[in-house]
Symmetry: C2
Amino acid sequence: MRYRAGIETRGRILETTRALIAEEGLEGTTIKAICDRAGVRPGSFYNLFKSKEEAIITVVREAINAVDPDPDHRGTDTVGELVDAYVRFLTDQPDLASVYIGLAVSGSKNNTDLKGRVIRHHEGRVARFADALVREGIPEPEANRRAETLVTALNGVALHLVLDASFDVETHARALLGDALEPA
Amino acid sequence: MRYRAGIETRGRILETTRALIAEEGLEGTTIKAICDRAGVRPGSFYNLFKSKEEAIITVVREAINAVDPDPDHRGTDTVGELVDAYVRFLTDQPDLASVYIGLAVSGSKNNTDLKGRVIRHHEGRVARFADALVREGIPEPEANRRAETLVTALNGVALHLVLDASFDVETHARALLGDALEPA
DNA sequence: ACGGAGTTTGAGTGATAACTCTAATTTGAA
DNA sequence: TTCAAATTAGAGTTATCACTCAAACTCCGT
């Protein structure tokens, strides 16, 4: 992958893989499907990726980064902003959201590496939410528990969005936010 | 399936399917594996089930029904009982819970039939939660919205349990229940 | 324009999946 | 006891999967 052609092909494969995961799920994302749609033969695919899994992990990493509302960790965000960021992600990029959820479910049985990646990312998000809750006056141990409940519940919202594209993400997300901010 | 032999074989197949899902996950639960372990030939399997999917759905449905606080739908269940039932399902049968979530996500991409089934099941659950909330004094339109938020958030809890087997399902589920019951 | 490295081709491999089919056997109601 | 229906056997079918490979072709620094 040092020539222009290889880099372009690689990009086309990744884009196709992402679209296929969103449309067909992990199960429907086969080498044949990727290659047909990307206009590439299996030999080329395996020249650029050592396995199908490697391509999928690459796509998933992108999806996970896309969920991050504040990649620079400035630490000035409010819980409302964090929730808004997630809502925006879900509504603007439902395909990536679908990948993120689908991966958590199907991909985690055999693949410890992938599983660890998702869990670490989840913990990072919870920490960010917890910090924001503390800044809003909720004491530490309680803030952490509420953050974990909130992030988990928001993932439930994402899960349902995968099932029902017309699901009212914003209303439910705001309700969950309100619950997290309520005084004990 | 009218003779004793058929009923017994069916039971053995379902039990084996349940065990295999727990031990090997959905991916490792093949017709061959089921048949080998149940001491049955594929012909017999397909005499009793029209597809592998039917057997799996049956197993999952049985597990969910097994913890139903009001199996006859007499309308006597409280929201607390409904939440408890789901928590029990998640903690007692985490592997089936994983399949349940997995069916909702991956299984419903191509399979319109399955997708409809999952959505209908979700709607039924929301309706029961909403009825229970009304019985507890929360007015109708609000009760429905809260029920939907609660059920969705609980699915988020289930989703996270798939990722992290040590996740404290009960604490978070109770927190979500408390939020749903709070006065407006 | 040379030539080694990068890229592409596409038929092919071997494994394994879900599922079918027909004939033989067993069941249980009358 | 009889016999139609239920059940079972198990080899076979069809499909599809991830992946390979040797040969041809393209790129680009020199």
